[in-house]
Structures are given as structure tokens and as C-alpha cells.
Assembly symmetry: C2
DNA sequence: GCCTCGTTTGTTAGCGGTAACATGCGCTCC
DNA sequence: GGAGCGCATGTTACCGCTAACAAACGAGGC
């Protein structure tokens, strides 16, 4: 920067100003500095800038996994919103564990991010303490804070009601006249559980809930697992005539397995998934599922964060927002 | 740090040493510093550390897209290898464009990463200039540098031969006795083109190449596109009896469409994909495809990078490595 | 003509660590 | 008994930039 300053015949401070806030210097100086800067190939060090200005222009983004398309879409929304504003996402992977999340968050915080985006609301007490002590904005995604919940620590959430979405699927299957409606769930994180809770309540409201038809396993979900659990369910309860699989991977696996076993879908068995992943509309038959606004959640979370990072007075803390982006039941041919 | 130093009765420098390289201080001092550090909740600022030591402990990772599972797997491999070593990946998205890549690389470099991982070898001259001027290690992935290529700028590559992989598919289809073998490709990045080149050569070697059966479109690939392009191909050339789709998304779409149209696979039409994505083994019938070591490439690239970042003498520059991790043709039932 | 004010540029003093060198101390060894 | 050495710790001077304040200058008001 000193070299550029000398070349442009100004002080280092003026170079800094000319490049960061061109409107604060005279047009002539700005031009000279830009020319010199370009000629010398000057790239200001963000590290030094961060140390001096206490703004790193980075944002910690914690997601459970890279192999689940849901969080990738979330990340993509965050990324595409932050990047144009000059913010660099710092991606951290928590592996669905609150303890790991706390560890990852701590290492991320050492990088002094200007904001934090988290997945879900299921944090350790240590994480809550940490968040409470932060002076930077924090957004929780993919879920909504219940009214009054976390009153000790105001939270901003951007997401949708997993419970309501699960309820919608249950109600839909019941409305289709199905009587033996089963559930298959894996990867039992809090959001999956809420979906199952919603589904269960819908069936209770319809007077058709049978706990025996619930198959919940802790394993990571996959197409293969969906195929396997379908077989287990049908072996144990051959009269099952509808199934909610808590995500599309499982649903696709189940669907493939139905084709293999010669089980007509939806005639003999209705199948519903969750998330509306890329291929869901193209399976044979096309899969009924719930479209979730994952990318939009990422975009909105990043927007709110940018707003919060812009004004240094953290008023957002007193005025926690709760942005419900909803969901859509995509009724296709499997039900 | 000054507070911790005072609390532990030592100098700031000793605190720094006690926390970063515990073996360089006495056992007793180390214990005192750790206790004080924990009690005060001290988290060393990586930003300040970076400025003083000229090591940011970050790595720029540039991939074309977040919505293609191939690069997510690559990223996952990189992430899981870098994280335990204390390195933080800085993810940049290039959107498959060399110009965008150069822009993204420039902004990433402002963060002073200690290393760079790039996708492919298709860079702008400006990017090559930039890379040549860097003193940090750089790894190119997903492709292999040809012998003698880029002799002006030694490159380290970790990947596999896209050409050979394409050749293997072509040879396989020919060996199955197919005579009218078509090609469907989208997202025409250099790696896709190489696969197509390999496939084409295989068919020429078998004496069965017909350029009319090649359908190459620039659009981003998707399941929907695969279905659409299958119809177009069959409409134009109803006698097609085998198809290579340049990735699994397209192949799955084509496969679904075959089921819909009542075209028996593989009896009437053989279908081969590329990448062996998660669901490929579970489609009906299971998809023949090429398993590519994407995650392993990420892991190996990160390993090489860590080695290069560890010794400050950039000897690796003189001794460029070319790590071929190969591929596997997964022959399943669609061929 | 002098004072005030706004605009542009410069000066100073850090931001929070760490590299490099200096110091002090206990030991071994001749 | 003193030179010489190795280890543990301290001191100094930055790393490259920017906040905050100071200064210089021209324009307008009375």
C-alpha cells in the first residue's frame, strides 16, 4: 500500500480511502490511486484490514452435513447472497451432533466472523452461552422458534414448521382414504422428529394412528436404506396401504423397491416423501412429497444477517424475527 | 492475551508459546497458562495470528457449482482432511466459467490463503499468470495434466483420465454388441468433452462411430433434461440401441423416460451413465455407470496441499506430482 | 477582510498476535 | 573455577491496514 501511495503521490491512508470508499476522495486522486494500484497489481490484505477495522467480512455457516442435498441448497442460497456483498462464508460441518456443533462453532469464532448462521435450534447449553455472549448477529435456520421459547436468549429464525409439514402429509394420506398408514424415518434429528410428530397428530385426528406402523431408525438415510426399510415394514405389516418416508432419499429407495417387488404404487401402497429433491418429479410414478424452501431460507437468512452486520448497533437482538417461509405439499401420482 | 499473561504471571510471548507449541515451555508454566486461559475464556485471534505469522490457516477451494454432487463429494473430501489439521476451507463457486473463476480466485487471494485447490485445468491466461506468481502450493483436481503440458508452469494434478473413462464406456457398449450407439451430453465443460472424446475414439476403434448419434447441448444437466434428450434422440434416430449419457442425472432421467415410454432396458436400449451417484445402483434396472473417486481426489489433494504448506520451501513446484486415482466401470443391468 | 465551516488529505497510534533476537540461569566439562 | 552450552523466558519491533484526530485549504457570510 505504501508503494501505491508513493506511486500515486499520496499517503497510505488516502490509498485506503480511495479503494474502499471512493466517494470520500477527490475524483482526481481516486483516478491516480486506481491507476497506480492496478499497475502495481496491488491487492489489499483482508487480514490486515480485518485486524485494523474489526470486520473480517466472513460469516460462519454451520450445517450438519455436506452429503444431504437439503443443506447444500441452504448453503447455496447463503453463498449466492453473501458473495456479491463481499462476504466470504466459512463452512463448518457438525455431523448432526450438538457437541460437535459447539466445537466447530468455537473454532469458527476464532476467525472472528461478522455473523453466524446455524442449522436448527438444538444446541448444547455451552453453545447457547457462547451465542449469548456474542455481539455479532446470529440466525438459526430450517426451523422456527416457538413463541416464548428461548426467552432467555432472543433468537432469529428463518425456516418453516416441520411439524405442520408432517401434519400435512399425514392428513393428505388419510384424506386419500388410506387406513393402514405407516411411517419410515431415519437420521432422527430434531427436525425429522417434529415432522413425525406432526404426521402422528394428523393420523390421531383422523382416528387412524397405529404406533406399530412406525419404523424409526437412527441410521443415516439413503436410497438403499429406503429399500431395506420398505421390505421390513411390509414383512411385519403386509396390510400397510400408505407410507410416509421422512425424506426423498428413503422414498425413492422405497419406490424402486416397490417396482422390484411388483407392488403397484399407488393402487396397493401410497408413498409420500419429504423435501422434493431434484428427481422426485421424475420417478415412475412421480413422487408425492413436500417442497421445502431450502434455498430461499439460505437467501433470507443471509439477507437478515447482512442487515444485522451493517448497523453495528445490534438492535435486532431486542427485536427477534421469526420468518416462516412455509412449504408446499406436492401431490403427484404416488398417492 | 495480555490479561492471560498477567493472570499466569508470564509475558504475552510465553502465553503464545504455551498455547501453540506446548513443548517449548516448561510443564509448570504451560499448566498455569492453560488454567488462566480457560478461566478467562481466552480465544486467540486467528486474524492477528495470521497477520503476524503470515499464515492464515485457510485454503481456497474453487469448485464450479454447489448443485452438482460430484463437486460436493470433492469438497467433502477436502473438508474432512483439512479440518482436523486446523485449516479452514474458503469455498468459492465459479459457475463453470474460467472468467468467473479468475474473479473468484482474486477475491479469495485477498484473504491470503495458505494454499489453493482448483477444479480442472481450464483457466484463463490471467489465472495462469496469477498462479505462476503465487508462492503458495496449488493443486488442480478432477483432471490430469498431460505430459509436457503447461511446461511453463509446473502443475500438480490429482484426478483421473476423463478420456480413458469415456473410452471405457464406449468400448463396453461396443463389446455388448450394440451397433447404433448414441451420446447425450450437457454442461459441456472440458471434462465432459474429454469423456466424449474418449467415447468417440472407442467407437471409431470399433468401427461403429456415427456423428449423427451425438447430441450435445450446453444446458446444465438435470434429470428432466435427460428425459427430454432421450425423446429427442429416439425421435431422430429410432434405431439407436445404446446410449452413453455423460452423467448420472441425465442417465436417470433417460431411464425414467424409457420406463414411461415402455422401452425395455437393456433389451431394446442399453443405457450407461457417469459418476455412479448415490442412487445409480438402485434404479430399476440398476444403472451401468463409471464410479469416479471424487471424495478420494479431495482427500488426496488436501493431503498434498498440507504437505506443501508445511514446508515453506516450495520444492513441490519443481517436482510436480500427477496423481491418477483411476475410475471403475460399474457394469450393472442397464447394459 | 476576517471568521466559520465543509471538504480533502495527512499523521499518529494502534488492532492482537508472533519472529527474531537477547537474556538469565543451571549444567557439564576441562 | 570459569568457559561454553542449552533451555526457558523476556524484549523489541514489527505484520498491513484503518479509526480518530489534526491540518490545510477554499468558499461563503457578515
Amino acid at each position: 500500500m505504501a508503494d501505491v501511495a508513493a506511486a500515486a503521490g499520496v499517503s497510505a491512508m488516502t490509498v485506503s480511502r480511495a479503494l474502499r470508499r471512493p466517494d470520500t476522495v477527490s475524483e482526481e486522486v481516486r483516478a491516480r490511486v486506481e491507476e497506480a494500484s492496478r499497475r502495481l497489481g496491488f491487492v489489499p490484505s483482508r487480514v490486515a484490514s480485518a485486524l485494523a477495522s474489526a470486520r473480517t467480512m466472513t460469516v460462519a455457516v454451520l450445517i450438519p452435513s455436506l452429503t444431504n442435498a437439503v443443506f447444500i441448497d441452504l448453503l447455496a442460497g447463503v453463498q449466492e447472497t453473501l458473495s456479491p456483498q463481499g462476504y466470504q462464508p466459512l463452512v463448518g460441518i457438525t455431523g448432526y451432533g450438538p457437541e460437535a456443533e459447539e466445537r466447530v462453532l468455537r473454532t469458527q469464532l476464532a476467525h472472528d466472523p461478522d455473523g453466524v448462521i446455524l442449522t436448527g435450534l438444538d444446541h448444547t447449553p455451552g453453545t447457547w452461552d457462547l451465542l449469548r455472549s456474542l455481539t455479532i448477529p446470529v440466525i438459526h435456520t430450517m426451523d422456527l422458534a416457538a413463541e416464548g421459547e428461548h426467552s432467555d436468549c432472543p433468537v432469529q429464525t428463518v425456516g418453516f414448521s416441520q411439524y405442520d409439514a408432517g401434519y400435512a402429509v399425514g392428513a393428505h394420506l388419510a384424506a386419500r382414504g388410506r387406513r393402514r398408514i405407516g411411517l419410515i424415518a431415519g437420521q432422527l434429528d430434531p427436525r425429522t422428529r417434529q415432522r413425525c410428530d406432526g404426521w402422528r397428530q394428523a393420523l390421531r385426528d383422523a382416528g387412524r394412528h397405529d404406533p406399530a406402523l412406525e419404523l424409526m431408525v437412527p441410521d443415516a438415510t439413503s436410497v438403499a436404506l429406503g429399500a431395506e426399510l420398505l421390505e421390513r415394514t411390509l414383512a411385519a405389516h403386509p396390510d400397510t396401504d400408505a407410507l410416509f418416508l421422512c425424506n426423498d432419499d428413503l422414498a425413492q429407495g422405497a419406490l424402486f423397491q416397490c417396482v422390484r417387488l411388483g407392488i403397484p404404487v399407488p393402487e396397493r401402497l401410497a408413498v409420500a416423501g419429504f423435501n422434493d429433491l431434484a428427481g422426485a418429479a421424475w420417478t415412475v410414478p412421480p413422487l408425492t412429497t413436500v417442497a421445502t424452501p431450502r434455498r430461499a431460507i439460505g437467501v433470507e437468512a443471509a439477507r437478515l444477517l447482512i442487515a444485522g452486520m451493517a448497523d453495528r448497533t445490534p438492535k435486532s437482538r431486542e427485536n427477534p424475527r421469526r420468518v416462516d417461509l412455509g412449504f408446499r405439499l406436492m401431490v403427484r401420482e404416488t398417492t
